[in-house]
């Protein structure tokens, strides 16, 4: 159960007494902490083995914990643009040089693309390098951008902002894509090249050699009940060992979080800062459909000190589909802010509503994204592994594009690894290969130049004039000077530290959803297709079960019930007596990672649930 060393003798006696009560699927057990001043009663929430270790747990006595292990040359965690590009590049090099190379890729979604969510306007630069013949191969880049519109919205009106060539938002030469379909296509290319892809299996644990270098990963165990005990169908995950392991978990990966601490990768960079992106896909009235049209806006409904903006892209794939969404910076200060409800009310703006009227919403989803850019890039290599893609975070924030840089980082990783992994003798100081050449290659590539030139745009937002200051800065320094100014501005710090206490802020009056343009949270979550095996420990683990009520609710009015785009967190009254408790509806989770990022107590640790669980996005 809980690490006993943290508690006093009295608490240990309590715990020992409670251990004898081996209720299998009991309602939340109540613990009375008599030694605390308040008589707060905290029901047990977290049962995941990362918080409640199994080695001392009597329910796990005698359970076979040995894992089957297999060896590959390279193991890749995450089947997104970065992971797949790395896999493809490795196999392209291997096939060209007629060398054997076993590349295994694990992905937590039930199929490649099911957890992928993005706007998206794809800049084909990296794709042109990876597959110059992508068109013949049938890559789903069906919608070249034909018009680019930028607006500053007020409550009722729209101020057009000229989209001059040279501004980062200019999309000439790019394609509007359904990234999930693009990723699925990348997966098919990878399989054809001989990559072993295993969707439905999540990498749950990093494995280490004796010398501390990374040995590989272990996939998730299955068949653990909600209370943390083993079920009849319990099966251990499998170990995949590799010479090098690539971690491409996307924004704020849970294994990356562990690796940052383990190898001190963030000692020379700023803490990463994020945003949450909420997205819907609509089937609109054909008369309103303008294929290839790209619309972006800033301003309403966000105030000038809350970073964010919207997108609305008209796809050209046979049906009158538009992809639209709102991005809200997670450095916002008002704990009452609900990114979901801001998104819903943004759709009522006349300029947006006129496109959506008469249409039907067919998809919904959300995901956190990186906003830190250059200042937040960590060290990306360590003995036995490396970080690729949005995990370290190569997104070009003002361009709002990260796919091309993610792909390029995967390709650079592959090119750096290949000679080392196929060399006759491994010549390595550590059991897991260290490939610092990857970081050197990154610094010499166009990714670095690109991120350096836009490094000051996002932080320029942190001034009294907020958004307007940021726009002026971009106009002057980026458009004219191309980011050559000699200074580098800093971000505001950890997103989770930005919230002001609830009593210093005013609650926001959001309009009720009208069921035609705006919708309620639960029907939106249903559209994401998300589901998880119900009888498993909640994968949103709390380091301390009492902190949510004592801290988050008491000081910040429970911001997690406002920022979660899937309704996972609810503060409900206790069944007996006074007070509230946190209820975690883990089955609703869409794996956006916002809670792990924004929790002011940094008490929530998102870990991966049983593989195949999560959203079922189709072309998001």
């Amino acid at each position: 159960m809980f690490p006993a060393s943290r508690y006093s003798i009295q608490a240990q006696r309590c715990i020992r007494a409670l251990k004898t009560v081996k209720a299998e699927h009991a309602p939340p057990q109540l613990y009375t902490w008599r030694w605390k001043c308040s008589s707060a009663v905290t029901p047990r929430i977290t049962s995941h083995y990362t918080i409640c270790p199994r080695d001392k747990d009597p329910r796990w006595e005698g359970v076979e914990m040995e894992r089957f292990a297999d060896e590959a040359d390279v193991v890749i965690v995450g089947g997104g643009p970065a992971g797949l590009s790395a896999a493809i590049r490795l196999k392209q090099l291997a096939n060209k040089q007629e060398k054997e190379l076993r590349v295994c890729l694990v992905e937590k979604a039930s199929q490649i693309g099911a957890h992928t969510l993005s706007g998206a306007c794809l800049e084909p630069s990296a794709l042109n390098e990876l597959f110059p013949d992508w068109k013949e191969r049938g890559a789903p880049l069906n919608t070249p951008v034909t018009e680019d519109v930028f607006s500053l919205l007020t409550k009722k009106y729209r101020i057009p902002v000229p989209m001059l060539p040279g501004l980062p938002m200019n999309n000439h030469g790019n394609y509007i894509v359904r990234l999930g379909h693009f990723v699925r296509w990348l997966g098919e290319q990878a399989e054809e090249l001989g990559v072993e892809i295993y969707p439905g299996y999540a990498a749950a644990e990093v494995l280490f050699h004796e010398d501390g270098s990374v040995k590989g990963i272990a996939t998730n165990d299955v068949g653990i009940a909600k209370d943390g005990s083993p079920k009849d169908v319990f099966e251990r995950g499998m170990e995949l060992h590799a010479k090098v392991t690539l971690f491409g978990e996307g924004c704020h990966g849970h294994l990356a979080k562990q690796l940052y601490r383990q190898f001190n990768l963030r000692e020379n960079c700023e803490p990463q800062t994020y945003a949450i992106g909420l997205k819907e896909v609509w089937l609109i009235d054909e008369k309103k459909w303008r294929p290839g049209r790209v619309e972006h806006s800033v301003g309403w409904p966000l105030n000038r000190n809350t970073y964010g903006g919207s997108f609305l892209y008209h796809l050209n794939e046979g049906e009158p589909l538009v992809a639209l969404g709102l991005v809200v910076g997670l450095d916002y200060t008002n704990p009452y802010l609900s990114p979901f409800r801001e998104f819903q009310r943004w759709k009522h703006h006349p300029f947006i509503a006129k496109t959506l009227e008469g249409g039907n919403r067919i998809a919904y989803g959300a995901r956190a994204l990186n906003e830190g850019g250059y200042q937040c890039l960590p060290k990306v290599t360590f003995p036995g592994g490396m970080l690729i893609g949005c995990s370290p975070g190569f997104m070009n924030v003002p361009k709002i594009k990260g796919t091309h840089t993610a792909m390029k980082s995967g390709m650079l990783a592959a090119e750096a690894i290949f000679p080392k992994v196929t060399a006759k003798d491994l010549a390595s100081e550590t059991a897991g290969l260290h490939v610092p050449e990857y970081e050197d290659n990154l610094k010499k590539s166009w990714i670095w130049k690109e991120l350096y030139s836009v490094r000051n745009i996002r932080p320029s937002f942190h001034n009294y004039f907020g958004l307007y200051g940021g726009m002026v800065y971009t106009g002057v320094f980026y458009w004219i000077l191309r980011g050559k100014e000699p200074w580098t501005l800093k971000h505001a710090g950890l997103d989770s530290a930005q919230l002001k206490p609830a009593k210093e802020c005013t609650a926001i009056e959001y309009p009720k959803p009208d069921g035609k343009l705006s919708f309620d949270l639960l029907s939106s979550v249903a559209l994401s297709g998300t589901n998880h095996e119900g009888d498993q420990p909640p994968h949103l683990t709390l380091k301390d079960d009492s902190v949510p009520v004592a801290n988050n609710l008491a000081i910040y009015d429970g911001p997690e019930q406002h920022f979660c785009p899937a309704g996972v967190y609810e503060y409900v009254p206790l069944e007996t007596g006074e007070g509230m408790r946190l209820q975690i509806n883990a089955q609703n989770c869409v794996h956006c990672k916002t809670c792990d990022i924004k929790d002011p107590s940094q008490n929530i640790n998102w870990v991966v649930p049983e593989g195949s669980g999560g959203p079922a996005y189709n072309g998001m």
Binding site: H181, G223, E235, A616, Y617
Partner: protein
Amino acid sequence: ENTKIRVKPDHSGVVTDGVKHSMNPFCEIAVEEAVKLKEKKLIKEVVAVSCGPTQVTETIRTALAMGCDRGIHVEVSGKDYEAMGPLQISKIFAALAKKEEASLIILGKQAIDDDCNQTGQMTAALLDWPQGTFASEVTIDGEKVKVVREIDGGLETIKISMPAVLTADLRLNTPRYATLPNIMKAKKKKIANMKPADLGVDMVSRVEVLRVDEPPTRLAGVKVETVDDLVAKLRANGTI
């Protein structure tokens, strides 16, 4: 499996492109039962069969990962696949059962996409074999099978001779997970390919789908205060 399904714009069916296709839950239970019987050494070999386009090989692999010995993929695609229903599938199964000299055919009681609940019964009729449907317990006793069936009135126990057709109901067992090491091993197991024509089966459908529509949106209910109000409202909308 959980994507919101939507109707195609031409109302000819539902959009299936990009939707994850996985093994029918009742068929998972059927596969689990077969593997359990083999583990008890009551049967010698389990063959997993699926009819459909290339994607079904993934489903067959899952069955192989759960413990089946080999697979058979009967290729049906395009218009034939869209029109394929219980009658065509049972003809295929009947032909395969004769070819493979099977002693048991175990299927899920119904598919959750069409809820027909016909394939098992039709297969048994075509082969003139006994059937134990809605099985919640299966026991092999020499040349006979004891089947406990879930019926409206409770549980019915029957004894049938092999060869026989069984269809699995929810409480028959809890299917095991297909673990990654088993998926990897399953890649080495054989899946044979064939077409319905190879089995002498014609895929012509006797059913034509005229139109597919979404269910009507549920209208809000109306609360009434008194019985008189209720009667008045029922009269007003023509119900009485």
